[in-house]
C-alpha cells in the first residue's frame, strides 16, 4: 500500500473540494473494497478523503412517494429498513444475498455501486489487465473465464460487475445523485451510470473526477412479486455466477435484470416486454447479443432456467 494523505471531510463541499485539489484522491467510506485493492496496489490513491462524517446516512421519503437512500447507508441498514423490506423487497433480497454480515455492516450504498470487478487477473498485479493498467492487455481472454461476462464485452475487457445490490437498483429504476466539484449536482439514471468497457475499461462509470455520490433515489414502489435469485457455487459468502432480479405483476408483466453477466446490471427493454411470453422469450431478448466463451457458455442456459424458475415462483 502506497503512502497517502488522510483527511476527514466535514462537509460535502469540503469533500469534493479536497478531491479536486489533490490529483489521485479518492473518497473512502466503508472501505471494504478500496482497502482490499490498496493492499495490492491495484488502487493507489495519494489522498484518502474519509466521508464517513457526512450526513448521508439517512433513508428518507421523497415527495413523489419514493425513497432517497443516503450514500453512506450501510448495506445492513438498507436491507433491514422497514420501508425497503415492505416496498422494495427486491433490494433487501439482493443486499442480503451479497457478501457477509460483517461486510454488509460496513459497506455503503455508494461503495456497493462502485465496487470493482472480481476478475482474478485484475487482482493479480503480475498479469496484464487493461482495467488495472490500460494498454497492457487482457489476460482473461483466452484464460480462466468461467465467471466472466457474456454480454457487453470488448476486446479489451470481459470483466463483470460483482454487485448484487446494483441489479436490484437497475430493476427498480434507481437514480444516482451526485455532487460535483463545481458545486453542481446531477441525477444519473442507473441505466446510464455504468460505461461499457470499450477501449477504456479502466473508466467504469459516468462519474467525473472528484464527483461524489450523495444518494441513490428510488421511484415510488411498483409492487408486484419481487424475487432476487442468486446462483452460486457455495451457499453463501460468494459472488454470483449469475443472478436474476425480477418484478412480476399479477398480469404477468414485469421487469428483469441480470447480474454476473456484464460490466453492469443487464436489463433490456425488449426482455421486459417479452416477460409476458415467458422465460424463454425474455431470455432470448436478454441474451441476444451474448458472446460467451467456451468456459462461461453455461450461463446462457443457466439464465433461462433460473428466470423460468423465478417466473414460476412469482406466479405460484
Amino acid at each position: 500500500m502506497k503512502s497517502f494523505a488522510y483527511e476527514r471531510a466535514a462537509s460535502p463541499a469540503e469533500a469534493v473540494a479536497a478531491a479536486t485539489r489533490a490529483e489521485g484522491a479518492k473518497f473512502i467510506a466503508g472501505g471494504t473494497n478500496l482497502l482490499d485493492l490498496m493492499k495490492l496496489e491495484i488502487e493507489a490513491p495519494t489522498h484518502l478523503i474519509d466521508v464517513n462524517g457526512l450526513a448521508f446516512d439517512k433513508i428518507e421519503a421523497t415527495p413523489d412517494g419514493g425513497l432517497r437512500i443516503g450514500a453512506l447507508v450501510r448495506n445492513t441498514d438498507l436491507a433491514a429498513d422497514e420501508r425497503v423490506r415492505r416496498d422494495y423487497p427486491l433490494l433487501s433480497r439482493a443486499l442480503l444475498a451479497g457478501a457477509s454480515g460483517q461486510l454488509r455492516n460496513k459497506a455503503t450504498t455508494a461503495g456497493n455501486l462502485l465496487q470493482r470487478t472480481r476478475c482474478p487477473y485484475f487482482y493479480d498485479t503480475n498479469q496484464p489487465c487493461n482495467k488495472r493498467q490500460p494498454g497492457s492487455g487482457c489476460s482473461a481472454i483466452g484464460g480462466f473465464t468461467r465467471n466472466h461476462a457474456i454480454l457487453g464485452t470488448s476486446d479489451a475487457c470481459i470483466a463483470t460487475h460483482p454487485s448484487d445490490m446494483a441489479v436490484a437498483m437497475r430493476a427498480l429504476d434507481a437514480t444516482v445523485e451526485t455532487l460535483r466539484a463545481d458545486g453542481g449536482t446531477r441525477s444519473i439514471p442507473i441505466a446510464e451510470f455504468y460505461r461499457p468497457p470499450g477501449d477504456t475499461p479502466q473508466i467504469e462509470t459516468m462519474l467525473m473526477p472528484g464527483e461524489l455520490i450523495t444518494a441513490v433515489t428510488l421511484p415510488e414502489p411498483v409492487g408486484g412479486r419481487q424475487i432476487y435469485r442468486k446462483v452460486r457455487d457455495r451457499a453463501s459468502y460468494a459472488f454470483a455466477l449469475v443472478s436474476v432480479g425480477a418484478i412480476v405483476q399479477s398480469d404477468g408483466s414485469g421487469r428483469v435484470a441480470l447480474g454476473g453477466v456484464a460490466h453492469k446490471p443487464w436489463r433490456v427493454e425488449a426482455a421486459d416486454t417479452a416477460l409476458l411470453r415467458g422465460a424463454k422469450a425474455a431470455a432470448a431478448q436478454l441474451l441476444a447479443s451474448a458472446t460467451p466463451t467456451h468456459q462461461n457458455a453455461f450461463k446462457l442456459p443457466l439464465i433461462e432456467r433460473t428466470l423460468s424458475a423465478v417466473l414460476s415462483e412469482a406466479r405460484g
Binding site: 502506497k2 487482482y123 489476460s139 468461467r146 446462483v231 457455495r234 460468494a238 442456459p301
Partner: protein
C-alpha cells in the same frame, strides 16, 4: 519401549480418562484469543522487524536482473534478502523447489525477495518497489497434455509404482460385466486459516524460530540444512498451529526468509505469507487423471480390478499416490495398479489431508457405484460382496481389524438407506432433486516412532514434554488423558507442553498417525515413570496400582506428590515398532452416506445431511475424534463441489489464489453431520489400541456426494469439482 507383540491388558484399558468425551484442555486459551500463534509472539524477543515476501511473477525462467535501489531507499527499510545476497543456501531434504528462488525460477510466486522494514506497512510498500526483470522459458503446465510423456516414479510412501496380481488383462477381457472409465481430480489447496508465519531471532550462531509447523524435527533439520548450520544451533517452537492439513509438514519460505532477514537486519524478523501468495508459493494437492477398469461376474464378484493414475510435479517431486487404496480395499483375483508422474512446472505438489487415498477414493468409489448400477446391485451390497479380510496383493497378511461390512450396514441403517430410490431422478422435494450416495472410507494406519519426557513434581503434578504438535487435532488433550490414565491422576493434574525442538522427538502431526503414535510414546514414558516411582518406594512396579493420585501396593498407599518428593522424578522413553505392520495390514475403515439436493432449475448442489460410520480402533476422546471426522467430511464436500485451483495453462499458475475465489465450504454449506464409531480396539496397532482418525473422514466423501448427485439427477460427472455447469445441460427438464 519396543512394541512388537500385540498389546495385552494395560492401564489404558481402565478407560477412566481415556475414551471419555473430555473438552479440550487448550479450549479456554483458544476461545479467549490467548493461545499464542507464530506471528503473535511479542513476548519472546524484543525489537521485531517486519518482513514481506516478494513472489516470482513468472512460472519458469530466470531472473535477468533485479533492482533493489528504490526499495532500499524506501522509508523504514532495514534489509532486503535475495538469492544474490543470501549466501550459499542448501535445500531441505523434503523440499522439491528451493524456498528462495533466483536466478532460476521454478514456479510462480516462488519467493524471490524479502523486504525487511521497521513496520509492516513499510515492508509491504517497499516490496512493491523491488524491480525484477525475468527471462521466461517454456514450461509444462497441463497434466492432460503431459500425460503421455509421464514416467515411472520411484517407490514412495504407498509402495512401488506398479503392482500386479494374476492376469488382469485376460480376466478383464473375459469379464461378463466391464467398466472402463476415466476420472479427474483437480489441484487443491490446504487453505488453512493461519498463513505460514515465523519469527526468527539469532543469538550469535544460534537461531530460534517461532513458527507454525506440523513436524518439528523435520523443520529443524531442514532449516539447518538450508542455512548450512549445525542442527544443534537451531531451535524450533510451534506450540499452536492454525491448521495445517499437510501444508505445514515441511519447512517453507517464511521460516528460511525470516532467518535470513533477521541475519541481514541484525535483529529479530517476523514474516507471514500473504494469503494471495499461499496457493502458488507453498504446496498443494496435485491433480490426477485416473483410469479405472473393473471386470465382474454377473452376480457381482469382481474378477479384475485395474487402477492407473497420472499426476505431475516439479522435477524431483513425487506422484499423488492415488492407487494406494485400490491395492487393499476390494478382493479380486486379478489386479493391477500403476502410477505415472509427469513433469509440471506448477508449484510443488505434496501431501494434503490423506494424500493418495483422498484423491484415489474420489475416483474408485464412483467407479464402484457405476459398476453396482451395471450389475443391478445396491452399491452397499456390491461393496459387501467384494470384501476381503486379507491384503489382496499379499494374502498371507491379514488385516489387524477390518470391519468395513459392519460400517456399511450400520451406516445404511442409521441413515435410512432403504428409502433411497435405485432409479435416479425419482425423488423430488419441491424444486429440488434429492439423491442419496454411499462410498466406502479407507485410510491406512501408519506406525512411526514417538518419544516423550514426563516429570512428576512434589505437588503431584505431571508435566509431559514432547515435540508433538496440535494442529487442531486435540493432541494436547489426548496426551493429557493418556498421562492421567497411566498415572492414576485427574486430568487437571497433567500439564502438556508441545512443539519445541528441545523436547523428545515425536511422530509429529501428519498422515493421521499423530494420535495413536504420540500417545503410545507418552504411554511408554509413563511406564518408565511408574517404574521410577515404584522403585523409589520399593514397590514391585508390576503390582503397584496407580489410582486417585496414589500408588498402592497391598495395604501400603503413598501419594504421587510424596513419592516424587521435592526433587521430583523424570522419565523419558518412546515407542518403537517391530514388524507388526508387516505381518498385518493396518487400516481404518468407514462408510460415508450423503443426501444431496440439486436445484432442478440451476443445478446448484447442496448437501442435506451426511453420516459416517467408522471403525478405526479405540477412540481416545469421542468429542475431539468426532470433530476430526466432521471436519474431514466437510473438506470432502468442498472437494466434491467447489474446490479447484484453476491452472492458467498459458502462463502456468493457479489463478484463483485467494479465499474469495478458491471456495471452501462455509457454514451455510454444511448441514447436520452424524458420526458413528464402531466399538473397536486394535491391540496390534499400539499399546493404546488406537488408530488414525483424522484422514479417514475425508476419504470417500467426495465420491459419496458424486454418487448422490447421480442418484438425484441421473447425471454422472467424473470430473471434480461437480459444479453446476457440468450438470446444467443434462438435468431433467422440469417444465
Amino acid at each position: 519401549m519396543r512394541f512388537d507383540t500385540p498389546a495385552t491388558t494395560n492401564p489404558i484399558d481402565q478407560l477412566r480418562v481415556i475414551g471419555q468425551p473430555i473438552s479440550r484442555i487448550d479450549g479456554p486459551l483458544k476461545t479467549t484469543g490467548t493461545a499464542p500463534y507464530a506471528y503473535e509472539r511479542h513476548d519472546v524477543v524484543p525489537n521485531q522487524a517486519y518482513g514481506y515476501v516478494v513472489g516470482a511473477a513468472i512460472a519458469k525462467g530466470r531472473i535477468a536482473s533485479i533492482d533493489l535501489a528504490q526499495a532500499q531507499a524506501a522509508p523504514g527499510v532495514l534489509a532486503i534478502v535475495t538469492a544474490e545476497n543470501a549466501g550459499k543456501l542448501g535445500k531441505g531434504g523434503r523440499n522439491t523447489a528451493t524456498l528462495l528462488g533466483g536466478p532460476a525460477i521454478e514456479h510462480y510466486h516462488q519467493a524471490v525477495a524479502l523486504v525487511v522494514a521497521e513496520t509492516f506497512e513499510q515492508a509491504r510498500a517497499a516490496a512493491s518497489l523491488v524491480r525484477v526483470d525475468y527471462t521466461r522459458t517454456e514450461g509444462a503446465f497441463d497434466l492432460a497434455a503431459a500425460r503421455n510423456s509421464a514416467g515411472t516414479p520411484k517407490s514412495g510412501f504407498g509402495g512401488p509404482p506398479d503392482t500386479s496380481v494374476g492376469d488382469f488383462a485376460k480376466a478383464f477381457a473375459a469379464a461378463p460385466v466391464q467398466l472402463d472409465e476415466t476420472y479427474t481430480t483437480p489441484d487443491q489447496s490446504h487453505a488453512m486459516m493461519e498463513p505460514h508465519a515465523t519469527i526468527a531471532a539469532w543469538d550469535g550462531e544460534r537461531l530460534t524460530v517461532w513458527t507454525s509447523n506440523q513436524m518439528i524435527a523435520w523443520a529443524a533439520g531442514d532449516l539447518a540444512k538450508t542455512l548450512g548450520i549445525s542442527r544443534d544451533k537451531v531451535r524450533v517452537m510451534s506450540p499452536f498451529i492454525g491448521g495445517g492439513f499437510g501444508g505445514k509438514l515441511f519447512l517453507r519460505a517464511d521460516v528460511v526468509l525470516a532467518a535470513l532477514g533477521a541475519r541481514a537486519a541484525g535483529r529479530p524478523v517476523k514474516v507471514a505469507l500473504t494469503r494471495p501468495l499461499m496457493a502458488n508459493n507453498t504446496t498443494h494437492r496435485p491433480a490426477t487423471i485416473q483410469r479405472i477398469r473393473i471386470g465382474a461376474t454377473g452376480d457381482g464378484k469382481i474378477t479384475a480390478l485395474g487402477h492407473e493414475s497420472w499426476s505431475g510435479d516439479l522435477p524431483g517431486g513425487g506422484p499423488e499416490e492415488a492407487v494406494n487404496q485400490t491395492r487393499l480395499l476390494y478382493a479380486a483375483a486379478n489386479r493391477m495398479t500403476a502410477m505415472r508422474l509427469a513433469v509440471l512446472d506448477l508449484a510443488e505438489g505434496n501431501a494434503m489431508r490423506a494424500p493418495g487415498e483422498a484423491s484415489g477414493m474420489m475416483a474408485l468409489e464412483i467407479a464402484i457405484d457405476e459398476m453396482a448400477e451395471k450389475l443391478g446391485l445396491d452399491p452397499v451390497e456390491f461393496r459387501i460382496r467384494n470384501d476381503t479380510q486379507v491384503d489382496p496383493e499379499q494374502p498371507e497378511r491379514p488385516f489387524s481389524q477390518r470391519r468395513l461390512i459392519e460400517c456399511l450396514r450400520t451406516g445404511a441403517e442409521r441413515f435410512g438407506w432403504n428409502k433411497r430410490q435405485a432409479q435416479p431422478g425419482r425423488m423430488l422435494d419441491g424444486n429440488i432433486l434429492v439423491g442419496m450416495g454411499v462410498a466406502a472410507a479407507f485410510r491406512n494406519n501408519l506406525l512411526t516412532k514417538s518419544a516423550a519426557r514426563i516429570r512428576l513434581d512434589g505437588s503431584g503434578m505431571v508435566t509431559v514434554e514432547t515435540d508433538m504438535t496440535d494442529i487442531g487435532t486435540g493432541s494436547y488433550t489426548i496426551i493429557a488423558q493418556t498421562a492421567a490414565e497411566m498415572m492414576g491422576l485427574p486430568i487437571e493434574k497433567v500439564a502438556v507442553r508441545l512443539g519445541d525442538s528441545t523436547f523428545p522427538v515425536s511422530c509429529g502431526s501428519g498422515g493421521q498417525w499423530g494420535g495413536n503414535n504420540s500417545t503410545a510414546g507418552v504411554y511408554a514414558a509413563c511406564v518408565k515413570l511408574r517404574e521410577a516411582v515404584a522403585q523409589k518406594l520399593g514397590f514391585n512396579s508390576a503390582e503397584a496400582v496407580f489410582a486417585d493420585g496414589q500408588v498402592r501396593l497391598g495395604n501400603r498407599s503413598v501419594s504421587l506428590a510424596e513419592a516424587a518428593g521435592a526433587e521430583g522424578l523424570l522419565a523419558e522413553d518412546g515407542i518403537e515398532y517391530g514388524d507388526l505392520d508387516k505381518k498385518y495390514q493396518q487400516s481404518t475403515f468407514g462408510a460415508h452416506f450423503v443426501e444431496v439436493g440439486v436445484d432442478a432449475a440451476t443445478g446448484e448442489t447442496r448437501v442435506r445431511r451426511m453420516l459416517a460410520a467408522c471403525a478405526c480402533g479405540r477412540i481416545l476422546n469421542p468429542k475431539t475424534a468426532r470433530s476430526q471426522l466432521i471436519g474431514a467430511m466437510t473438506m470432502g464436500v468442498g472437494a466434491a463441489l467447489t474446490e479447484e485451483l484453476v491452472v492458467d495453462k498459458r502462463t502456468g499458475f493457479f489463478v484463483n489464489h485467494d479465499l474469495a475465489s478458491y471456495e471452501v465450504p462455509v457454514h451455510a454449506d454444511i448441514p447436520h453431520q452424524d458420526v458413528v464409531f464402531l466399538d473397536e480396539v486394535d491391540p496390534i496397532s499400539s499399546p493404546m489400541k488406537a488408530k488414525g482418525v483424522a484422514e479417514l473422514g475425508i476419504c470417500g466423501v467426495a465420491a459419496a456426494v458424486a454418487n448422490a448427485i447421480y442418484n438425484a439427477t441421473g447425471v454422472r460427472v467424473r470430473d471434480y469439482p461437480i459444479t453446476l455447469d457440468k450438470l446444467i445441460e443434462r438435468l431433467p427438464n422440469m417444465q
